[in-house]
Amino acid sequence: MLRFTIRRLLQMIPTVIVVALLIFVIFSVVPGSFAASLIADGRADADPALLARLNREFGLDKPLYERFAQYLYDIARFDLGTSFRTRQPVVDLIEARIWASLKLAVAAMAFAAAFGVPLGFIAALRPGSLLDTSTMIGAVSGLSMPQFWLGLLLMYVFALQLGWLPSFGYGDGGLLHLILPAITLGLTPLALLARTTRAGVLDVLNADFIRTAHSKGMSNARVVRWHVARNALVLIVTTVGLQFGSLMGQAVVIEKLFSWPGIGSLLVDSVAVRDIPTVQGTILVIVLWFLCINTLIDLVYAAIDPRIKQG
């Protein structure tokens, strides 16, 4: 298991390097600049002197290969550079927001898993029942509902009409402010989990070894717990992992809607003003997060199904 873990961790390194290259290349060729973004709203006039100073200050007047060499050198030293926009180290900007992002992603995923998996499981055990039909209708609606609209709807009901929860903000970081954004963000993965779980469980229920287990005289509860659950788990874990990994980047709409201080909105803001060091740093962090989750999932697989370890 240790060798497997080390191998998976080492495999992350080339991925990170390729991603870093891609980000650099993309942002070197896309049009637009930080200096231009400063006057984008027309509130200030263009200033050629400022443009020249900014380019010099940020090293944008240097040739591309020199900038690329510098970028690689900095990454190797775990230095993500200095933000154009805030003139603070990118690491500090990310650090100030990453915990809020993690908190939101974990809460949303916990909500999704806590409801999605049991709902899918129960639906699969009673296919065609009222519960099954309503769960699947709910899941399809959940998947097709724009998060933005759902967020506003929840705000309208729970904040404006009922007055139970605050409609926006991080507050003191407590649970109360977390509920609405987490539910809004968690509903799509919940729906997907319910559907996947149902399909996975149904698949296993029709397998030969389940019939064998039943014919051995095993009780229904034991069959479900020992055979069905364990075998359906691989699919469920995969879905949870993929969803969990992408939540951090996906949360940007929710962050904007609820004024939640996550790194999704940091990324989008930075792209809009071409704050390249922050964009590069934030994407790297999101990619790392995704890779870590994936690796973790692989390790969980190996624990569930020993065949995977050898493959």
Partner: protein
């Protein structure tokens, strides 16, 4: 009799309530919104030109001058008096003796000099450097030929002399938030960027990036009895719908409204009484590239102005949240000509003008446009059928906002649609049409007109304000005639506020920038604000 008594009683009660409403009350918390984006970019206001950051910084900081919304002009803020030399170039300021930074250091002339040198320092590449460019010695300092700025001289701790390269009204530039005075002892330290210290009425408490910043009353503020509020939560809310819910839920005290919400609020009896409107100093326009073939002919540009039904677009798309534009300078600018009339919607005249210019069969052009609802692609789409009527085919060319300005300053466009600041200083607004202003500065259309240049130069040299205003009025009228742009509209800024909030100012330079020290809330506010 009974009715008369009741009426008297009601009247008396009404008067009392009115009087109560007018006497400012101390204390309370204000939930103010920062609507332009999903974060504050930086707490170091020298590094940023954005209004969003100013919304935060103006609570903490003060500049040498400030904008007085009621008088519609810049006024002295950190100085009690100023003496101007006969030639109008040397200004001697008496700084406020009782102004103290939040960490206890009293304000001295050294702080002002240190601040201006920090902003002008080329290594910092700060956007405010341009506002100091007319101070003597700044050019040498920026080029590295001098280690100090010769035009800044400390006479004593509370007396500062500033020498300008020519006669100016320094209020328009030195009032900028990005020239806020920092304490010279700790101003440039890395901690300062996360825990700013200023001279303003409120001191910094905390910042949750992407969510909110909190400031608290500074007890040693230099104005007796100010500020009224104990605390302000500056809540970042870039999304208009979320702001709407929070406002109706009484969680926030002000909300900047977009066109759709403006109409919804006006239609709601509970909300319409508390909507503040102001004609802001922004002119929405389509700028023509004056070296691009059909636009070299003035008649073509005038024809486009006649061919578009601006009032209709303002009514339908902008939902009356704008004023039709006559020329470049906005309604509040002193040189604005009250007798001037906007281009009339007259397709027949437009066709005649086009025929005279040799374009009887029309022509095609494209307009660079961002997705902005008030001055972007939707507006260009609205003019397509109107211009088609006179034979002109127009296409929007969608661009991202960080690309838009880059293409315009490089001259890579046939036409562009934009919103441009046209105030508060009319002289610098019209400088954008002066032939010596390059396109990379703000002469985006590439305007070059000797008659205009003569008027502008005369206005620049004129020291009598009335005469200067008259020259600028003529220059502005000439711009209307020459039509280097399609004059679309002047923005109407609209802010909804809760009934318990008082002291808001109709700030024409930017409605969201409020002088927080004048704001106060009365006892009808929800418990969370008292």
């Amino acid at each position: 009799m009974l009715r008369a008594l009741m009426l008297t009683g009601l009247l008396a009660a009404g008067t009392t309530a009115g009087a109560l409403a007018q006497t400012p009350q101390r204390g309370g918390t204000l939930n103010f919104t920062a609507p332009y984006g999903t974060s504050f970019s930086t707490l170091d206001v020298h590094a940023t030109p954005s209004v969003q950051d100013d919304i935060f910084a103006s609570a903490i900081h003060r500049s040498l001058y400030r904008w007085d919304a009621a008088r519609n002009e810049p006024v002295l803020e950190l100085a009690t008096e100023v003496n101007v030399s006969a030639d109008g170039t040397v200004f001697t300021y008496k700084l406020r003796p009782n102004a103290v930074f939040h960490h206890g250091k009293p304000l001295t002339a050294d702080d002002v000099i240190w601040t201006y040198q920090r902003v002008a320092n080329p290594a910092n590449a700060f956007p405010g450097a341009r506002y100091l460019a007319n101070i003597k010695g700044v050019a040498e300092y920026a080029d590295g030929k001098a280690t100090t700025i010769s035009g800044l001289r400390k006479i004593d701790d509370h007396t500062l002399e500033i020498t300008f390269v020519g006669p100016v009204n320094p209020g328009f530039t030195l009032m900028r938030g990005t020239l806020a005075i920092y304490p010279s002892d700790i101003g440039g330290t890395p901690e300062f960027a996360t825990k700013p210290v200023g001279l303003g009425p409120f001191r910094f408490v905390e910042h949750v990036p992407g969510s909110q910043a909190v400031v608290e009353r500074f007890d040693r503020y230099y104005k007796e009895g100010r500020p009224y509020l104990d605390r302000i939560n500056l809540v970042i809310m870039g999304d208009a719908s979320a702001r709407d819910v929070a406002f109706r839920n009484r969680e926030i005290d002000v909300s900047i409204l977009g066109p759709a919400q403006y109409q919804a609020y006006l239609a709601d009896p509970a909300l319409k009484e508390h909507v503040l409107e102001v004609a802001e100093v922004f002119t929405r326009n389509i700028g023509f590239n004056l070296s691009y073939k059909p636009f070299t002919d003035r008649r073509v540009r005038q024809a486009i102005n006649h061919a578009i039904n601006s009032p209709l677009i303002i009514q339908r798309l902008a939902r009356n949240k704008a004023y039709p534009a006559t020329s470049w300078l906005p309604l509040s600018a002193p040189p604005f000509d009250k007798d001037a009339v906007p281009y009339a919607y007259d397709p027949a005249k437009a066709r005649t003008l086009l025929a005279e210019a040799g374009y009887a069969n029309g022509f095609e052009f494209e307009v660079n446009a961002t997705p902005n609802e008030s001055w972007g692609v939707p507006i260009v789409e609205a003019i397509i059928p109107m211009l088609a009527q006179v034979g002109i085919k127009v296409r929007p060319r969608p661009v991202e906002s960080a690309v838009h300005a880059e293409l315009v300053t490089k001259g890579e466009f046939q036409a562009y649609i934009w919103s441009n600041a046209t105030g508060p200083d009319p002289l610098s607004a019209l400088q954008c049409f002066y032939s010596k202003t390059p396109r990379t500065a703000c002469n985006y259309t590439g305007f070059n007109n000797p008659e205009f240049d003569k008027l502008f130069e005369a206005a620049q040299a004129e020291r009598d304000p009335a005469k200067q205003t008259d020259l600028l009025r003529q220059a502005n009228n000439l711009i209307q005639q020459e039509a280097p742009v399609w004059f679309f509209n002047y923005n109407k800024a609209v802010m909804a506020y809760q009934p318990w909030l008082h002291g808001l100012q109709p700030n024409a330079t930017e409605m969201a920038l409020q002088n927080y020290e004048d704001l106060w809330i009365d006892s009808t506010a929800p418990a969370s604000r008292r």
